[in-house]
Structure formats: structure tokens, C-alpha cells
């Protein structure tokens, strides 16, 4: 039960900067997800907290202890590895008991904790088996049970579900969320899967090129992306971005149509960001919607729950979520307008969202 504070942590591998001065505080019992594409530094950051990697600069605090000079075993952490790292030469029981044996707990306590965590992860009937006799999902459960058995202050998970098939991943996601909420540990969870991140996290820290671009709740990250990268990385399909030229007085020219935007002449150009589902499509241009934009439908993807239309607007890509009954055909002209309070503005120079 502890807060994690990461102060100005940086990591260099030779000339490559894997992490640029990261500041992040994770509250006691919070479930924080580090989300980013591969190579963004999220695993490196997790391994620095674990003590498997040494930071080039900065401090890591767990609770009121500075831990960056301590060995992993002295940090009060447990970890779940991407490839599970379930020891093949030990039975499931001994795997779960590994940390407890190293801490030299008495046999009765070891048995008690192993049995409790095993039943928590629903693997109590597998205790005598070896890792080679388990499925991927079962191995994953063993890895989590092994981590929980040590009753850590901090639980670190490195893409724990990435090796499971889609259905199993969904099942484990919900289960892990329940188990971790009960265990009351502070958790850092690394993933490149945005659905996983959004469904599990109390807070998501989106990483890109060694920076944390935004750290906020799932809804906030989705609705109010702090940067172009966040908008285009999160959401499937991602946010649409359209170039806007200033017309003065808070009006902006987006693909030949006037759109109300931020006042102030300091930006030579902006980008309008809008989620595909925050677009209203009109039957035909009418006086009721004098400011509607038009788009040419290129590709239609019927996805069951909705119809995804990829369109061209003034040579820019626009994706629109349509009702699954919509009668659009490729080549059709679509008349649309963005839901005004869902529009976000981005500065193309800094790629950051306007405040």
C-alpha cells in the first residue's frame, strides 16, 4: 500500500534517449496504465521502477522510501512478466510459493498464502502440475498468483495479456480488474492495447518517444486528448484532423466552410479534431444547416454495430461512424457537421491541444 513517485527519471542507451525526464506520481491503490506503441519507453520505465534497469538520472520513491538504489527484492514490489516467466522446473505450487520461500516464511504460512491466491486466480486444481502442462491462460494466472502471494505494496505488470488470444484476453481483463481492486495494491500496468488500457485503468499515462504526453482518466484521454498523438493513437478509428485557416474574429475556414473556433490571431493555422462518432450527417444541404461540410465517401466498412465510412474532405481523410442501416454508397456526397462541444483544436506547430 504505497504511493509511487517518479521524479525526473531519464534513461539513455548510448546516444539514444529512451526516456526524457519523466515525472509521474501514482496514488496509493491506483491502477495506472502506461500506454504507448512499442519502443516508446513504457517497458523501460516499468523496469526502472522494478529495479531491473538503472535510470541514468532521477529518483524513484515508493511510499516514503527512495528505492532507485535498492535491489529489486528490497523494493516491496512484485512483477508479472510478458512471457510469464513461470519456472518450468517447478510445480505450480512451488512457482506461487517462490517469493514466500525466498522470504523464508514458515511452511504453514506458505501453504495458506499459496492456497488463497490460487483460489483467487481459480487455479487451485492445478497446483501439482508443471508449467509445460498448462495453457497460456493458466500460465498467466500462475504468474499473477505468484505476484499476489507476496502481498506486494506495488504490482508491476508488463504486457501480461499480450500473449493470450482475444477472447481469453477479454475474460482475463475483467478478472484481473476485480482481483486487483480487492488486493488494494498500487499497480503499474504496461500495454500497447488501448482497449485494455481504457477498460482497466484508473488513469492512463500515454507515452510517446520517451515522454508522457498525457496522464488522465480513460474518458478524459479519449475526449480531451492533450496532443495530436493522443487523439490519433487512442480510439479505433482514431480522431479526425482537418486543417483550418483563420478568417478572423474566431472563425476558421475548414475545407471551405466557416467553423466557429478559438478567438485570437496568434495562430497562423490550426487543426480541427473530431471523433468519428461525434459527426452529425444531414440528409441534404438545407437552409437548416448552412454551415455543413461535404465529404465524398470512398470506402464503407460494415462493422455490425455501425457502418464506418472513410471519406475525403478537401483531400483530407475523414472517418465517420454511420448507423448500420445507412444507405450510403461509395462516391456519395455526405453532408455533415461536427458536434460543436466535441470539437478540439490543435496547434500544428507544437502538435498540442489548445487549452
Amino acid at each position: 500500500m504505497a504511493e509511487i513517485r517518479i521524479n525526473q527519471v531519464a534513461k539513455q542507451f548510448g546516444d539514444t534517449h529512451a526516456l526524457h525526464s519523466i515525472d509521474l506520481t501514482i496514488a496509493d491503490q491506483e491502477f495506472l496504465v502506461l500506454l504507448g506503441a512499442s519502443g516508446c519507453g513504457k517497458t523501460t520505465l516499468l523496469r526502472i521502477v522494478a529495479g531491473l534497469e538503472t535510470a541514468s538520472a532521477g529518483e524513484v520513491w515508493i511510499g516514503d522510501r527512495r528505492v532507485d538504489h535498492l535491489a529489486p527484492k528490497d523494493r516491496g514490489i512484485a512483477m508479472v512478466f510478458q512471457n510469464y516467466a513461470v519456472f518450468p522446473h517447478l510445480t505450480v505450487f512451488e512457482n506461487i510459493a517462490f517469493g514466500l520461500r525466498m522470504a523464508k516464511l514458515p511452511q504453514s504460512e506458505v501453504e495458506k498464502r499459496v492456497n488463497r491466491t490460487a483460489s483467487l486466480m481459480h487455479i487451485e486444481n492445478l497446483l501439482k502440475r508443471y508449467s509445460g502442462q498448462l495453457s497460456g491462460g493458466q500460465r498467466q494466472r500462475v504468474a499473477v498468483a505468484r505476484a499476489l502471494a507476496t502481498e506486494p505494496e506495488v504490482l508491476l505488470m508488463d504486457e501480461p495479456l499480450s500473449n493470450l488470444d482475444a477472447l481469453l484476453r477479454m475474460e482475463m481483463r475483467a478478472e484481473l480488474k476485480t482481483v486487483l481492486a480487492e488486493s488494494k495494491t498500487t499497480t503499474i500496468y504496461v500495454t500497447h492495447d488501448q482497449v485494455e488500457a481504457m477498460s482497466m485503468a484508473d488513469r492512463i499515462a500515454v507515452m510517446n518517444k520517451g515522454h508522457i504526453v498525457q496522464a488522465a482518466s480513460a474518458v478524459d484521454v479519449y475526449r480531451n486528448p492533450a496532443a495530436h498523438f493522443v487523439g490519433s493513437f487512442i480510439g479505433n478509428p482514431p480522431m479526425n484532423f482537418l486543417d483550418a485557416k483563420p478568417l478572423g474574429d474566431g472563425w476558421w475556414d475548414v475545407a471551405g466552410t466557416r467553423v466557429k473556433g478559438p478567438v485570437g490571431g496568434q495562430y497562423p493555422a490550426l487543426q480541427l479534431g473530431i471523433r468519428p462518432e461525434d459527426i452529425v450527417v444531414h440528409d441534404a444541404p438545407s437552409s437548416a444547416h448552412p454551415d455543413s461540410l461535404s465529404a465524398t465517401v470512398r470506402v464503407l466498412e460494415p462493422l455490425g454495430s455501425h457502418l464506418l465510412a472513410s471519406c475525403k474532405v478537401d483531400n483530407q481523410m475523414l472517418r465517420v461512424v454511420l448507423d448500420s442501416n445507412a444507405s450510403a454508397k461509395p462516391g456519395d456526397q455526405l453532408h455533415w457537421s461536427p458536434v460543436p462541444d466535441r470539437i478540439r483544436w490543435f496547434d500544428p506547430a507544437t502538435e498540442l491541444a489548445l487549452p
Binding site: 522494478a50 527484492k73 512483477m79 516467466a85 519456472f87 518450468p88 517462490f98 508443471y130 508449467s131 509445460g132
Partner: protein, 282 residues
């Protein structure tokens, strides 16, 4: 071109080779050991071998040598392999240097160590030069069986540890790093990581290395001859003596079968002792 017989056809040369050069001589040796001149089955040659005054000494010496050499070699090779695997740079260089003795024949190795230990050897001249001794000491004389034994043990360790090392280094390289990281996170010290992760996961390599070394240890010959002559009788030495000095191929064959039986027994013992439980294989 492909037919169902092709695999067998391709296996044929190797099978023929094994039959002509291994199976056939083996049958001949067994025949010699068990069948008398008149063509009857007999245990007379085994009796002659076992009742000879040198048999027990040779058997004991061979076992003692294997016991003194092999466990030490395994431990040393484990230590050396751990060092090599922990190195970031120069790993290959060190490995090459350490494996140089592998390229030297066992007789040559025996002669190198003879040059150190003999009366006019390096050790004596060094000790004399340092003023530790007045006169050269006969380390390898027939009265000093202890030092002969020690010299042979040293020479064998110097000569044949590298083969164990090579096998273990390769084996250690196959253990995924993630297991060590998991062990480290869950509180295992360096030593615990070695005993709880490295050793159990190295079992297949240890098995190979030990079988190889134990068999070779029971066949030790040239180094013993070079350093001890006939002062320290061993099984392989007795085979040679019976075959070429006493001109009795049948007793020599009986000896050879004894060495074979010991090798098979130890191979089975090691395979059983270092077996991996079903399901625990990676």
C-alpha cells in the same frame, strides 16, 4: 525421386559403419572374453582377471581417480561457465583460451605435466631456485603414490575441464533471462538464483557433460602412463598390459567388458539422477 525407402537408404551408410566398426568388434571382444579355445562358454578369463593381484588395485585406483577428478571438474566448470556468461566483453577470448587444453592429446598433456613434476622438472628447479629445497625431490617415484595420484588429478583437471565448460556455457546460454529477472524480483540472491534457477534448468547439459566426463574418466590411460608408468595400476593400463605384455587377449577382453559395464552403469545412474520430471521439460 523420393520414395519411402529413401530415409532407410540414407541411414544405411551410418548403420553399416556402426555395425562394422562398433558392433562387430564388440561381439568379437565379448566372444574372446566368454568363449574358451575349445569353443565352450567359460568364466575362466574373468576368474583369472579377478584373482590377479593387480585387479583390485587397478579397480580402486580408477574409481578413486574418477571420484577425485569428475566432481571437482563439474564444480569448477560450473564456476567458470558462470564467470564467462556474466562477462560483457572478451567472453569469446576467455572461452578460447580456456579451451586450449582440449586441442592437446592426452599423452601430450601427460608429458607436459611430467616436465613439471619429474626429478629434473620445472617444479624442482623452481623450488631449488627459491631455496625451499636443497636437492631435487622425486615426486613421481614408486614410493610416493600419493603425489603421483595428485599429479594425475591435476593433469586431468587441466586437460579435460574445458569440455565440461563448453557444454555448460552452451546450456546456460539457453536459459531465458526472464527467469533470472523473475527470481531477482521475488527475492532470490545470486546464490539462490544459481541453485534454484541455473542448476535445475541446466540439468540436460549437466547430464551430457557428466556422462561424457565419467566415461572418459574410467578410460583414463595416457596421462597415467606418462606420469606414473606402472606405479599406479588402472583398468585401461591393465587391458594394455594383458594384451601386449602378457599376450592374453581373453583376459584383456574381460577387462574391457568390465570397463564397458562400469560406463553403462554410471550412464544409467546419471540419467536417472538428473532426470527431469515428466511435464517439467521446457
Amino acid at each position: 525421386m523420393y520414395s519411402r525407402n529413401l530415409p532407410y537408404l540414407l541411414l544405411l551408410p551410418a548403420t553399416l559403419f556402426l555395425c562394422i566398426f562398433f558392433l562387430y568388434p564388440f561381439v568379437l571382444v565379448a566372444w574372446q572374453a566368454f568363449v574358451s579355445d575349445t569353443g565352450e562358454f567359460t568364466s575362466e578369463y574373468f576368474m583369472e582377471m579377478a584373482t590377479h593381484w593387480k585387479f583390485n588395485t587397478a579397480l580402486t585406483n580408477t574409481f578413486m581417480l574418477a571420484l577425485a577428478v569428475v566432481p571437482f571438474q563439474i564444480a569448477l566448470a560450473l564456476y567458470m561457465a558462470t564467470l564467462v556468461n556474466g562477462m560483457k566483453r572478451g567472453r569469446d577470448l576467455i572461452l578460447y583460451v580456456w579451451t586450449i587444453p582440449l586441442g592437446i592429446s592426452d599423452l601430450a598433456a601427460g608429458i607436459i605435466w611430467l616436465a613439471i613434476f619429474e626429478q629434473t622438472g620445472f617444479l624442482n628447479s623452481m623450488l631449488q631456485g627459491l631455496g625451499v629445497i636443497e636437492q631435487p625431490v622425486g615426486f613421481l617415484g614408486y614410493q610416493s603414490k600419493g603425489t603421483i595420484f595428485l599429479a594425475i588429478v591435476l593433469a586431468e583437471i587441466w586437460r579435460a575441464t574445458a569440455i565440461v565448460l563448453v557444454i555448460l556455457v552452451a546450456g546456460m546460454g539457453l536459459i531465458p533471462k526472464e527467469y533470472y529477472e523473475a527470481a531477482e524480483v521475488f527475492g532470490a540472491s545470486r546464490w539462490k538464483q544459481f541453485t534454484r534457477i541455473t542448476l535445475p534448468m541446466l540439468k540436460p547439459s549437466l547430464q551430457t557433460a557428466m556422462i561424457l566426463r565419467v566415461i572418459l574418466a574410467f578410460e583414463v590411460f595416457a596421462v597415467v602412463v606418462a606420469l606414473g608408468g606402472t606405479n599406479l595400476p588402472i583398468l585401461m593400463g591393465e587391458i594394455y598390459t594383458w594384451q601386449y605384455d602378457l599376450r592374453d587377449s581373453s583376459v584383456a577382453a574381460a577387462y574391457a567388458l568390465v570397463v564397458l559395464a562400469i560406463s553403462i552403469a554410471f550412464t544409467l545412474l546419471i540419467m536417472w539422477g538428473l532426470r527431469t520430471p515428466k511435464g517439467a521439460r521446457v
